[in-house]
């Protein structure tokens, strides 16, 4: 009986994954070149962001968490309060001509380290 239900659960699961795909790849800016379609990019905000996301598109540069590769980002939508230079962010988008065109509203800032002291910006 247990075997039957395990089989049923597995069937449901496989059905789902085949229908809904295999999740969004989460990559760093350095891995972006050459990707197609929507990806989720994790990195640190560097330089001076411009724009506010609503009237003007927010433009900023993302860098690998522990590397040097960067990518410019264009974003429209809500900008979380915690967003600023030096923060780690996650954003969904597609690479177009070397710039990441972000999915509106997909910008997420990580809660600044709870278990490490807050660094002075």
């Amino acid at each position: 009986m247990i075997a039957l239900s395990v089989a049923a659960a597995l069937a449901v699961f496989l059905l789902y994954t085949s229908a809904f795909g295999r999740g969004t790849p989460t990559i760093s800016p350095g891995q972006l070149p050459g990707t197609h379609g929507r990806v989720s990019v994790v990195g640190t905000v560097v330089g001076k962001p411009t724009g506010d996301g609503h009237q003007q598109a927010l433009r900023f540069v993302m860098r690998d968490r522990d590397g040097t590769k960067t990518v410019p980002v264009v974003y429209r939508g809500s900008v979380p309060d915690l967003f600023k230079t030096g923060r780690e962010v996650v954003i969904d988008g597609t690479l177009v001509d070397g710039t990441l065109r972000a999915v509106p509203g997909s910008l997420v800032t990580k809660c600044p380290s709870k278990y490490a002291p807050a660094k002075s910006a």
Binding site: M1, I2, S5, A9, V12, F13, Y16, F20, R22, G23, T24, P25, T26, I27, Q31, S40, V42, D52, G53, H54, Q55, S78, V79, D81, L82, V90, V108, K110, C111, P112, S113, K114, Y115, A116, P117, A118, S120, A121
Partner: protein
């Protein structure tokens, strides 16, 4: 002072190692005094950990910045209660809290059971000692809260998002839950080591499991409330790995609470129960590993600390040894009882267990998938919300229905005519309600409609149970006091139903709107009109409060004045979102207004959400607590019966 703290922790480490080693030796060689001594070591460990905790707490209250930990997590401007909460606000301190609670639970468990079940306790002590040794070791050698430095003039302050009353309740409650699962695990392992096949270990730990499970549940609800009220995205659960980290052990513990009832009634599922308690405990360890190690991408994710590999190693050791233990004792545990019918209460409990474990494992898969895909194909892929929502519905809705069916079926076997009789009214009520709801437009969301209908079914069942029971026993209080576990359990089920209704309502039937407004302009959302009046600022001790005055109308009537805005914290140089929530009790919905972006000229980008029935979630928490307390309440008659059963063995 830091030296005292460090020394106290070293003493704790020594004691836990002694408890583990001497305890194991004493159990193996049947040495009575040595066993008592090992048990005492756990009491002493509580003492020395209390000393260490007192040192840290006093340093926090005195703002002694020579303690690196204190400087990193507090400032002189920080209100006292948050200085206290900074104890568990950081990596090292939270580990110390974990150890403190673990020592407390261990000491209490040993104290309460050493006379009643000496042959069981003698093996439980080394297990508790071993687990405590790990945490004590981490605190002494890897992540000490007592590092010192030359005291700076000012501390870094506590992260503003943690400066709220929730920080005082949420982590300690969660820890009381996580750590609490260690006790049934230790007793279960102790029973295996002692070669016991009876349910003594379950009887001994029943209340512990309930307490831990309740604490974990309430802790999560508080976390959800925190997310809802403070974080300001209008939601309360994001399927974030760290949130899931608490949900998974809770689901496993829920399954365990039900399956031990089967062992109690029918003597079946002994192996399953042991495996479940191992799963629950390992998931609680895994949960804290996820939260600390930074291995998984999470919005709560903290630094990639060096703790990760240690925790992972410990979890592997625990899994390996406990599974080996189960395998070794497998022949003893096999029971001869078979499931008599697929339509019986045991079967219903079994289905419930399978669904809970299935849900738990799918969440686990979703959480580790990024790590797995990274290892397998080189890119870590994250699984999004739709995955979790799908499985919550697939497994959760049948679970909801089962909550109603289970109590109506008798043990062993239920005939169709009995079923027909008992199902009639609840089914009729729920179908009727379903039709009414469709008429009111609830058909817009099919899962929502199903959830509502099933919920009605379950609530009808529960009410019927209470009514029938009261009629049979003559008085309501007598009914409940004679059957505390059953009727307390029904109340807990009612709480879960309320939770389901609240979740369905707020996710399936809400509305939202976003607009940029200048003072004087209005926007509409879900039947309300919001008018932005003005922008003000005022200064609090450690932050600047910026607030927008917004009037909320329903038609032409002014319903409320809300003040969404932001807080700008000086020392931490951070801005937090202060969402305004207006609760309309009559319409049973919340209207959330978020001042998303405030421009220098006074223009504000607003986001407004209407969330129907969301407050049922919090009400569910209260009902849950109430039901749980009833279930926990000691029953003198049952205590006497159990004591008589085990007396001979204890004094034989």
């Amino acid at each position: 002072m830091a030296d005292l703290g460090r020394a106290a922790l070293i003493v704790t480490l020594g004691l836990t190692v002694y408890a583990a080693v001497a305890g194991a030796w004493a159990a193996r060689a049947h040495r009575r005094r040595l066993a008592a001594s090992a048990g005492n070591a756990l009491f002493a460990a509580l003492g020395s950990t209390l000393v260490a905790s007192a040192v840290l707490l006093s340093a926090l209250l005195r703002h002694d910045f020579s303690f690196t930990y204190v400087a990193d997590h507090t400032s002189t401007e920080l209100p006292t209660s948050y200085s206290i909460s900074a104890f568990w606000g950081g990596q090292e301190g939270s580990l110390l809290l974990w150890l403190l609670i673990l020592c407390g639970y261990s000491a209490a468990a040993v104290f309460l059971n050493r006379r009643r079940a000496p042959d069981l306790v003698v093996w439980t002590v080394p297990v508790l000692g071993a687990v405590s040794t790990f945490f004590a070791f981490m605190l002494v050698a890897v992540s000490s809260p007592f590092a010192t430095q030359t005291a700076p003039a000012q501390g870094a302050g506590l992260n503003p998002s943690l400066q709220n009353p929730y920080m005082l309740a949420h982590p300690p409650l969660l820890y009381l839950g996580y750590v609490g699962l260690t006790v049934p695990f230790a007793f279960g392992m102790g029973a295996l080591l002692a070669g016991r096949t009876d349910e003594r270990w379950i009887v001994a730990t029943r209340r512990w499991t309930l307490v831990a499970w309740t604490a974990l549940g309430i802790g999560q609800l508080i976390g959800a409330h925190w997310a809802y009220v403070e974080v300001g995205w209008g939601g309360y659960y994001a399927w974030d790995p760290v949130e899931n980290a608490a949900l998974m052990p809770w689901l496993a513990a829920t399954a365990f609470l039900h399956s031990v009832m089967i062992q109690e009634k029918r003597g079946m599922l002994k192996v399953w129960n042991v495996l479940l308690v191992i799963l629950a405990f390992c998931l609680s360890l895994f949960g804290t590993f996820l939260t600390r190690s930074g291995v998984i991408n999470s919005i709560h994710s903290f630094t990639e600390s060096s703790l990760g590999p240690w925790f992972l190693g410990f979890i592997c050791v625990v899994v390996a040894t406990s599974l080996a233990l189960v395998f070794w004792r497998l022949p003893l545990l096999r029971s001869k009882t078979r499931l008599e019918s697929l339509v019986s209460r045991e079967a219903a409990f079994l289905y419930n267990n399978l669904l809970l474990v299935a849900l738990c494992l799918t969440i686990l898969w979703g959480v580790v998938f990024p790590m797995v895909s990274d290892l397998a194909v080189g890119t870590s892929r994250t699984i999004g919300r739709p995955y979790y929502d799908f499985f919550l519905r697939t497994f959760g809705l049948p679970l909801l229905l089962l909550m109603g069916i289970g109590p109506l079926i008798a043990w062993r076997r239920a005939s169709l005519r009995s079923l027909g009789k008992t199902f009639l009214w609840p089914a009729a009520i729920s179908v009727g309600l379903g039709l009414v709801l469709v008429a009111f437009g609830a058909g817009s969301s099919k899962p929502g409609l199903v959830a509502y209908t099933f919920s009605a079914f379950v609530l009808a069942t529960i009410v019927l149970e209470f009514v029938r029971g009261t009629r049979a026993t003559g008085s309501f209080t007598r009914l409940v006091s004679r059957n505390r576990r059953r009727y307390g359990g029904y109340i807990v089920h009612a709480a879960i139903v309320l939770l389901a209704i609240g979740i369905a309502g707020s996710s399936a039937y809400g509305s939202s709107a976003e607009r940029k407004l200048l003072p004087g302009q209005t926007m509409r959302v879900g039947g309300y009109t919001l008018a932005y009046r003005s922008l003000t600022q005022h200064r609090d001790p450690n932050h600047l409060a910026i607030r927008a005055a917004v009037d909320m109308y329903r038609g032409r009537t002014l319903v409320a004045r809300v003040e969404p805005g932001k807080n700008d914290y000086f020392a931490e140089q951070q801005v937090s979102n202060e969402m305004a929530i207006h609760t309309d009790w009559l319409r049973a919905e919340d209207v959330d207004v978020i001042a998303d972006q405030i421009e220098p000229g006074g223009a504000i980008y607003f986001k407004a959400l209407v969330k129907p029935l969301v407050n049922l979630l919090w009400l569910a928490g209260l009902v849950f607590l109430c039901g749980s307390l009833i279930t926990l309440w000691p029953d003198p008659r049952e205590e006497r019966r159990l004591a008589a059963r085990y007396y001979a063995l204890a004094h034989g």
